[in-house]
Each structure stands twice: as structure tokens, then as C-alpha cells.
């Protein structure tokens, strides 16, 4: 009897644990489902460059996906953008000046609107048709897809209605000859004329594209001492610089291979040389190619800076000041003691 009781008890324990485990599973699954945000858009590609000869046409495709939990009403449009002049961030305009692009996806209505359901991935097409007499030039555009839940949003009382918009940049270059007509020039190299010995040397370079199409920044830089010894070498990171715009050049150490495996933390916004103690004149030399197709045509700029230990000097002066003050006070105090 005891044996039967023990067997029954063991079974009861096992069954109890199975029920508890099943309960956790049931509870956790709805929680996982609720972690999906209602609006979660993904677009491919984020940026695309296309060069077209006047008289030709091209169909550009982007893929938009709703990874969120709500059916969405998407409105497609496109606007011009300009570079922010520093980092390559697009600054969107409110309208488009490029007249040869139209949204042709059959899924959309006349207003460029269509529905995107949860989990749905939609490929969308934009047709570019260039007339023979079109003027050459570069047209940076952003294709915008604004999303709202596909049901009326009721805001009880006062409130703000919110829409999420995701953009895909499309840089269109109308070019009859097909050559890379980018023309990069070094706009400026910024640094302080006199550096402190205890701090790293830092140079910031700005490049301007005076050409007619976006091109890749290609070049190198080095820092030398007063004897011409090369102390540091850098590669210019191959950022794209749009026509008629400027961008701050980024640097990668000369020893690192720039490829798809490059660790982003190895890209610096400045050209830095960091050593424990520097003194004397140092020269920064930057060479930038005109464009990616003609790397041998380049410009070079050099800047010489002086490094002096003025913080060390300042600390010394402060300490000297303290010492002098103490000596004066001590003598006065000693005299008082004597006369008293």
C-alpha cells in the first residue's frame, strides 16, 4: 500500500510540473507576440546611385516590408534632398524638382497609396524616363513612404497624431558621356596653430565636390616631424560626396585594409596623432584625388603646426605662484611673531 501511495505521489508531482511548464508556455507566447511594435518598416536599398544617359529609361525598385503588427496605409512620394555639408546626412526638401520620375507600382492608387499588411513585403517600382534634350546634372532624391494604421485613428480629447516615414535615397546622374566628372577639392583643413604637448594633434579636413556627379573620396594623409620623418599615415575613408556639396573627410589608419570587414570604430572623423609628449613643428599633408575614376589627378594641402608644452609651463607658474605667496605669508607671520 505504501508502495502504491509512493508511486501515485511521484506521478502527481510529475504531472504538476508538466502543467506548470505548459502554463508558462501559454503565458509567454502572447507576451512574445505583444513585443512586436505596431509600426516597424524596413526598406531596401537605403541608398542607390544610378547614372542614365538622356534618351534612356530605367526602372528603380525598392522593397518595403511591414515587420510590425498593424496593417498600414502607405503613401509614397519623393522629394529633393541636399547634403548637410558635414556627415552625408540628407536634409530633405518639401518638394521635388526632378520631373522625370514617377511611381508606377500597380498596387498603388492614383494618390500613390497602398496597403501593407503585417509580415508583407512589397516591391515598388519607380520609372525614370529621360528625354533626349534633358540637361545633364545630378538629382539627389529621397523616396518617402509614410505609414499610418489602416484604420481611423481616434484620439479621445486633445492629442497628436503620429506618422512614421521611412526613406530610400536615390541619386540620379544624367550624364551623356559616362565619365566620372566628379571634381574633389580640399576646401579646408582645420586645426589650431599651436598645440599643447600633452594633447594629441587633431586635424579636420573638409572636401568639396565641384564636379557634376557624386564621387568617392580617395586619398591619403601623413604627419611628419621637422626632419621629414613620417610619424603617421592615414587613408581617406571612401565616403561619397555629392556634386556641388561638401563633406568632412574621415580617416582610417594606413595599416588597416578598408573592406567590408572594417570595424566601424576604426573610422575616425579626424586625423589624430596621439603620443605621450610632442614638441616642435609637425606637418600635416593631405592628398585627395579628383575622383574615383582618375585617382592620379589629385590636390595636396599641407599645414604646419607648433607643439609647445604650455600646460606644463602653466602648471609650473601656478606652483611658483603658490610658493611665492607662501614665502611672503611666512615671512610676514615670522616678523609678527618676532615683534610680539
Amino acid at each position: 500500500m505504501l508502495k502504491k501511495f509512493a508511486t501515485n505521489s511521484r506521478s502527481a508531482v510529475i504531472i504538476s510540473w508538466l502543467i506548470i511548464a505548459a502554463g508558462f508556455l501559454l503565458i509567454s507566447n502572447p507576451a512574445l507576440a505583444q513585443n512586436k511594435p505596431p509600426i516597424d518598416l524596413k526598406i531596401t536599398p537605403p541608398t542607390y546611385y544610378v547614372a542614365i544617359e538622356p534618351g534612356k529609361s530605367y526602372t528603380h525598385r525598392v522593397t518595403l516590408e511591414q515587420e510590425g503588427s498593424l496593417p498600414l496605409l502607405i503613401s509614397a512620394s519623393f522629394v529633393d534632398f541636399k547634403s548637410d555639408g558635414i556627415s552625408g546626412q540628407p536634409v530633405l526638401d518639401t518638394a521635388a524638382s526632378f520631373p522625370y520620375l514617377r511611381f508606377i507600382s500597380p498596387e498603388a492608387n492614383d494618390q500613390g497609396q497602398f496597403t501593407l499588411n503585417p509580415g508583407q513585403k512589397q516591391q515598388l517600382a519607380f520609372k525614370i524616363e529621360i528625354p533626349n534634350d534633358a540637361h545633364e546634372g545630378e538629382f539627389p532624391l529621397t523616396l518617402l513612404f509614410s505609414a499610418r494604421p489602416n484604420s481611423e485613428v481616434i484620439v479621445g480629447g486633445s492629442g497628436s497624431q503620429v506618422s512614421a516615414t521611412i526613406g530610400s535615397n536615390l541619386i540620379v546622374n544624367l550624364n551623356r558621356l559616362g565619365h566620372d566628372r566628379g571634381d574633389l577639392q580640399i576646401e579646408d583643413v582645420k586645426t589650431t596653430l599651436i598645440h599643447d604637448s600633452l594633447f594629441p594633434l587633431s586635424f579636420t579636413a573638409l572636401a568639396r565636390n565641384e564636379g557634376q556627379n557624386a564621387t568617392t573620396a580617395t586619398g591619403s594623409a601623413q604627419i611628419t616631424d621637422y626632419q621629414g620623418n613620417i610619424l603617421a599615415e592615414y587613408q581617406v575613408y571612401p565616403d561619397m560626396i555629392l556634386a556641388d556639396s561638401q563633406r568632412q573627410l574621415r580617416s582610417v589608419s594606413g595599416e588597416i585594409i578598408i573592406d567590408k570587414n572594417l570595424d566601424p570604430t576604426q573610422i575616425s572623423k579626424h586625423f589624430l596623432y596621439d603620443q605621450p609628449f610632442l614638441i616642435g613643428p609637425y606637418t600635416f599633408s593631405l592628398t585627395l584625388s579628383k575622383n574615383g575614376q582618375y585617382p592620379d589627378s589629385s590636390t595636396t594641402i599641407t599645414k604646419t603646426v607648433w607643439v609647445l608644452p604650455y600646460s606644463v609651463g602653466a602648471i609650473f607658474l601656478i606652483l611658483l605662484g603658490f610658493y611665492t605667496t607662501y614665502q611672503i605669508w611666512f615671512r610676514k607671520f615670522s616678523k609678527k611673531q618676532f615683534w610680539s
Binding site: I39, P46, V50, L70, R148, L177, G178
Partner: protein
């Protein structure tokens, strides 16, 4: 001398002579051996690309169609190419240089600039070289005085094709600029190396031509000398152009190439050698399937959530911030979560802009209106707040609408609620929304990154308090958040 003694002497003499002769033969035979612990590594094991243009390519177009079958070249898919590769397109001595922008689909890729005249004809070469350095390591089997080590790398038979800088199928190209052979730095009586030499397609072994890279030395040599980069330097050869795919190459499977390392004596006779296989493969097979994307999500935040240093009063959704009934004496706080992920190498930016101030029943509020039918954008506790300038928004006597940022892990934010510089003291630092109705104020960046991002997010915190002069009713506006990649 007795004849017997003479015969014995002669016999002994000839026996000794024969012994020396045999020894010489045996010694000669025991000299030939394999170099041991030999290895060859390539710094860049990617296949070079050598394909051909298909029909239909045109001057000025940046879209390039290649042939995928039935040609003499063996690169039949753009899977080998990645964004940023330099490709040469054209024929003979005239090849234009271009940069790959995108490589999808397999028969087509796009360039960053259009094709030039002369680079569009069917069957024109499409070439992307992959080159790197080769390191040969080995241990000597014998002491060879005043000898040399020679690395043989397979080449095509034609001397012209072997060193034209154009990748060859199943063979290495010498390159049209002289490679560098870096020999070990030993400089003693055992090994004293001179500058290395390289010759294109110089040696033929068993009907196969090889490029020859040599490190000659003076000295006695030694048995068991490891040239492994640790005890002694290895041999380093730079600027070798990797082969294009072998005939019948299977994508994802390495093509194997047989190299030879030889140890020669002062008469250039091979004393020891070893054959080494090295594999060359597409390195892009994995990454070619990862498309560049940007993802952006908005999620609501429940009431009573602690963010921006406050507890939210209302529950928001992804599409609405319902303040409900507004209080004249206390702030209403609300929040939403914005998240971005992208593998675009230059990162992203998210901007925000409102269509207008909150107007009664959605009506228009002209400029920075302070009328009864508009809840104005807050001027801040110091009356210095704008859509570009932050100010504290913590005093309920300061009326209006504004927002702050609680940064979770975004790379860069322009400010957040704890900012304690400028006009802010670090309690609730806030700004106005840019207002397109008011002089077309430009959308403002609220978070960004200059590199790839993995679910970087912020909470955007709304704060509102109407004035006593605002009419009763519902006030509304529209706020848009836009995420784009940095180019």
C-alpha cells in the same frame, strides 16, 4: 715487395676507393628530401573576377549586364563582386576603371558612374583583380651552402598573358608592376640573404609554367632551420594577382592551386622541395545575401512608465499621443519609443516635424500663435526655447507644448532631458517641434549615427499644459518622424 703483399695493398686501396665512391653516391642520394612543416598562406584568398559584357550595355548607363554562360571567361556571376570593388571594363589595352555600386541580380551590377564610350561592346572584358601577399613558411631538410629558396606559383604558358595584370583562369598573374619578394633578414655565416628576385613564367615543371620568386643566400646553410616567422623570417611575396575561377568552378567551393617551394644549391639544382596546395574562393558568398536595409519602428508607451525623469500620464500608441483632458495646473506627460536598425555603413538619421501647433479641432495656428484656439509651442522657463534651441520646461507657469529625449542607446542625440548646459539645468530640457506652418521650419534631427546601428532607440517625451485663455475643446496636430540612411 712480395706480390701477395702488393696485391693485398692494391685490393685494400681499391676497396677504400670504392667505399668513397659508394659513399659519394649514397650521400648524393640522401641529399634529396622534402622541406618540412611547409605552408603557404594568402592574405586575400578571394577569387579575381574575369567576365565579359553581354549585349545591351550602353554608353552612359551605370547598369552593366554580363554573360553568364558560353564564354571563354569563367566569372559567370556577380556573386564575386561587392560594393566598392574596382572593375576594369573594355578590351585589349583600353580598359576603363569603374567602381561597383551594387551587385544584384547575378547577371547584372551597377556602377557609381556610367559606362564610357568604347566600354560597352559585347564580349568586352570585365575584370576585378584580387591581390594580396603570399607568405611561405618551411623548415630545411638539409644544409645547402650558398643556395637559394624558390617559391613557384602556377602561371599561364603565354609570357604576355602571365604578366599583364589581368587575372587568368586557374592561374596566378604576375601583375604588370614588379612584385616585392621580402627575404628573411638573416645575415650571419649560416644564412646571409640578398634581395629577393621575381620572374614571370620563368620555370616549367612537368609541363606547367610557374612564376619564380627567389631568396638567395651565402653561408653554410643548416639542417632543420625553420623559416616560420618566429625562429627565422618567412618569405613574403607581395602583389600577386589571384586567379579567376577555374573552369567548372563551383560557387562556394575553393579552387585548389599547387605551389612548389624548392631549396636549390649553388648550381641551381633542386636539392629539396615540397608541393603545397592553396585554396582561392569567393569571399562574398555570405555577404552577398545580406541586403543593405534600414528599419524604423514606433511603439507606444504605457502610462505610469518612468522616462525622461517623469512618470507618463497617458498610454500612447504608435500612431497617436492622446493627452485626453488637459489640466491648467499640471503637465500631462506622454512618450513613444522610436527604434532604428541599419547595416548601411554610413548610418542613419531620424528627424521630426509637426504640421502646426495644436489647434482647436485641428484648426490652423499661424506662426507661434498664442490665441485662444491654439496651444502654442512652449517658450521655455527662460523664454528661450525654439525648435533649434533647448530650454528648461519644468515650471507649470510656462505654458505650451514641447518635447524632450530620453536616449537609450542611440549613437548621437542633439540633447536630452538631463542636458545641463546652455539654458537647461538638467531636469527637463526640451525643445519645440519644428512647425512647417511657421516659416516652413526645417525638420530637426532627434537621433542619428554615422555607422551601422543595431536597434538604437530613444524615448520621445511629450509635455503639454494649456493656458487659462485657451478655449475649451479638443486640440490636435500631426507629428511626422522620418528615418533615412546617411549616404
Amino acid at each position: 715487395m712480395h706480390l701477395t703483399t702488393r696485391l693485398k695493398t692494391l685490393t685494400i686501396f681499391f676497396l677504400v676507393l670504392a667505399m668513397f665512391g659508394l659513399t659519394g653516391v649514397v650521400r648524393h642520394r640522401t641529399k634529396s628530401a622534402s622541406l618540412t612543416t611547409a605552408s603557404v598562406t594568402l592574405s586575400n584568398p578571394r577569387l579575381s573576377f574575369r567576365g565579359a559584357l553581354n549585349t545591351g550595355n550602353s554608353v552612359g548607363s551605370s547598369v552593366v549586364a554580363i554573360k553568364t554562360s558560353g564564354i571563354g571567361h569563367t566569372s559567370l556571376s556577380t556573386a564575386q563582386l561587392v560594393q566598392g570593388d574596382t572593375v576594369l571594363i573594355g578590351n585589349g589595352a583600353s580598359l576603363g576603371s569603374y567602381t561597383v555600386a551594387a551587385t544584384n541580380p547575378a547577371a547584372e551590377f551597377t556602377l557609381s558612374a556610367g559606362l564610357a564610350s568604347g566600354d560597352v561592346e559585347e564580349d568586352d572584358d570585365v575584370v576585378a583583380t584580387q591581390s594580396g601577399t603570399l607568405i611561405a613558411r618551411f623548415t630545411t631538410a638539409n644544409a645547402v651552402a650558398n643556395g637559394r629558396f624558390r617559391v613557384l606559383i602556377p602561371s599561364v604558358a603565354s609570357d604576355t598573358d602571365a604578366a599583364d595584370g589581368i587575372p587568368d583562369s586557374d592561374n596566378f598573374d604576375f601583375s604588370n608592376s614588379a612584385p616585392t619578394v621580402t627575404c628573411p633578414s638573416n645575415a650571419d655565416t649560416t644564412y646571409d640573404f640578398v634581395t629577393g628576385t621575381a620572374t614571370a613564367s620563368a620555370i616549367t615543371v612537368s609541363g606547367q609554367d610557374y612564376h619564380s620568386y627567389e631568396c638567395a643566400y651565402s653561408g653554410t646553410g643548416a639542417v632543420g632551420s625553420p623559416f616560420d616567422g618566429s625562429t627565422n623570417d618567412y618569405i613574403l611575396i607581395s602583389n600577386i594577382i589571384n586567379p579567376a575561377p577555374a573552369s567548372g568552378h563551383s560557387t562556394g567551393t575553393a579552387d585548389s592551386h599547387a605551389l612548389i617551394i624548392q631549396h636549390l644549391d649553388s648550381s641551381f639544382a633542386v636539392q629539396d622541395d615540397v608541393g603545397i596546395a592553396v585554396g582561392v574562393i569567393e569571399a562574398v558568398k555570405v555577404t552577398a545575401t545580406v541586403d543593405p536595409t534600414i528599419s524604423f519602428s514606433i511603439a507606444g508607451v504605457a502610462s505610469s512608465t518612468s522616462t525622461c525623469g517623469v512618470s507618463t500620464d497617458v498610454t500612447t500608441t504608435a500612431a497617436a499621443v492622446p493627452f485626453g483632458s488637459l489640466s491648467l495646473s499640471a503637465f500631462i506627460n506622454a512618450a513613444q519609443t522610436l527604434t532604428v536598425s541599419t547595416n548601411a555603413v554610413n548610418g542613419y538619421a531620424v528627424t521630426t516635424v509637426a504640421n502646426d501647433q495644436l489647434g482647436l479641432n485641428g484648426g490652423t495656428c499661424t506662426g507661434d500663435a498664442t490665441t485662444a484656439s491654439c496651444i502654442r509651442d512652449s517658450a521655455g522657463d527662460n523664454s528661450l526655447m525654439s525648435h533649434t534651441t533647448s530650454d528648461e520646461f519644468n515650471n507649470t507657469a510656462t505654458k505650451g507644448f514641447g518635447y524632450s529625449i530620453h536616449n537609450a542607446d542611440a549613437n548621437t542625440v542633439p540633447f536630452q532631458y538631463t542636458t545641463a548646459t546652455g539654458n537647461c539645468s538638467g531636469t527637463f530640457c526640451a525643445r519645440q517641434f519644428a512647425d512647417t506652418e511657421d516659416s516652413a521650419q526645417a525638420a530637426q534631427t532627434i537621433f542619428s549615427s554615422s555607422t551601422v546601428a543595431d536597434s538604437e532607440n530613444i524615448n520621445i517625451c511629450y509635455r503639454i499644459i494649456p493656458t487659462v485663455t485657451n478655449s475649451a475643446g479638443d486640440y490636435e496636430n500631426y507629428v511626422t518622424y522620418t528615418a533615412t540612411a546617411t549616404f
